[in-house]
Amino acid sequence: MSVKILSKSEAFYDTYERRPGSNKDQTHYCPGCGHGILHKLIAEALVDFGVTKNSIVVGPVGCSVFTHYYFNAGNFQSAHGRAPAVATGVKRSLPESIVLSYQGDGDLAAIGGNEILHAANRGEAITVFFVNNAIYGMTGGQMAPTTLIGQKTTTTPYGRTLENEGYPIGMSEIISQLASPVYVERVMLADTRSINAARKAVRKGIENQVEKKGFSFIEVLSTCPTGWKMTAPQAEEWIKTTMLESFPLGVYKDIADQVEPLILHKDTVPSRRVPKFLGLNQEGEGFDISQMKIAEDVDQEIKIAGFGGQGVLSLGVWLSEIGMREDLKVSWIPSYGPEMRGGTANCHVKLSRTDIGSPLVTHSNILIAMNRPSLEKFEADVVEGGVIIWDNSLIDIEPTRKDIRNMPIPATQIAKDLGTTRISNVVILGVLAGITDFLDPDVVQRVLPIIFKKKQLLSINLKAFQKGLELGRELAN
């Protein structure tokens, strides 16, 4: 009698130690994302066929760029669209391994359209999982080649049109027309029944490779609740009601039973000879960083960092907006992870009276830290005599530096007292205006109505700004 338990597959790491930040429990995907379901189906199949330790997962660029955080197998992370090319190389050098190419629709159907066609046409003995959610999820919901006619995305705000963008591309249809692929199926992750069908297709695709049958391609219609602006259950419903019209399910090709197993030869160059072939020296040629000069005439170099959702990027945009109205040169660049919700984010803001050479802030004279990881990470980069503004209602440590102006501001608490924690960034804006001379409070108050178009939002934001301004002036004296 064996106990039947469905639980986390052994093909996953217990905790995701490769994932940066404090959250090692969860995947980086948004709640309800179809990627996780497909990951589970693949992991289960790898364990059931006993090939986990013999497998190499080739990740793409896109939301699933971090497959190596999760699969306790061999991992590769390839350049955008190039997973089938990398998988080809891996499979040819290690013919006994099970090589899986895992790609999204932007990766496979757009930038990697060429790679996948030729890998399929050559009949590489790999298994390709093509996650089709009809959108570029990671970069913020732009139109993909698979976007449906009429579907609204950030780059097709009135819906995709036939005249302008053409029909969505059917990769399963195209690949099934080639002679070499042995198995092409389109499945979906939309309900219990379809997930079960997808499970069978995943197993078949991996089984084909175990039996050395050749190229298998499984297209998976999957949800993107964030990109589609829906809840997870609504997104599953949308696949069934809308996506299926353009992407009919089914086995497009299956000749696995008719083909003989491939005999794969290992033909590789010994690894120590590789650098010579590539023309590389043993030692890298460095360059002297002390020769580089940082422009001295930049007035303000500001780094703002915190959790995604705290408005750190917005605060940077507002500073630039206000700077422009004060006739300053401005720059703003964001830096954030691929997570659409959660994760950490920071932005670099420069305000200057002269031209700005580089928008990067490597040594800030003002650091705004909205959470503990940000304070720990960026504290060392503040110039001597610089300002560290940190939210002491969220951060339970103190800055260790003594050569800086230490400004603890309970921004989140102040914002909460005013009614919503979401305006903590406006409190910080007020503080900045209070302690520095480059932000004219009058200008800021004239710009705020431009930023907050809704009247009910404006009044509470003005209050938050005033509160911050008072606090800042107190601290400055």
Binding site: V3, I5, L6, K8, D14, N23, Q26
Partner: protein
């Protein structure tokens, strides 16, 4: 309520509260909790009884380790091997909602969603 053949245990810290399991459960024994986990999500929660052990929620869930389903809880209970003494023991369900059981041999509490820390007789 139907007889509880199976048992579902939610790993609160892995759950993101997407509600797919709640929608998928054929016997409606899952709901979203009122409380939050450390990542700020309201995790799924078992009603405490009625699980048939069908596993539909497990496959509906996008998180690799958020849901553990014991297809036949009674069998699992009796086949449990004590972690302290490494001898056959039995599990008694202490809190079906939180997924906590007690080992009869050593008396220690066992978190059922942490399946990899448990072992059962073949």
């Amino acid at each position: 309520m139907a007889k509880s053949r199976g048992l579902v245990a939610v790993n609160v810290e892995e759950c993101k509260g997407c509600k797919l399991c709640v929608e998928a459960c054929p016997v409606n024994v899952l709901h979203l909790s009122e409380s939050f986990n450390t990542h700020g999500y309201s995790p799924a929660e078992y009603e405490g009884e009625g699980c048939t052990g069908c596993g539909v929620c497990y496959y509906a869930c996008p998180e690799p380790g958020a849901i553990t389903v014991f297809k036949n809880w009674q069998e699992a209970q009796q086949a449990y091997i004590c972690q302290t003494s490494n001898k056959p023991s039995q599990l008694t369900l202490v809190d079906p909602i939180q997924g906590i059981a007690e080992c009869e041999a050593c008396g220690q509490q066992v978190i059922l969603s942490n399946f990899r820390a448990l072992s059962f007789a073949e």
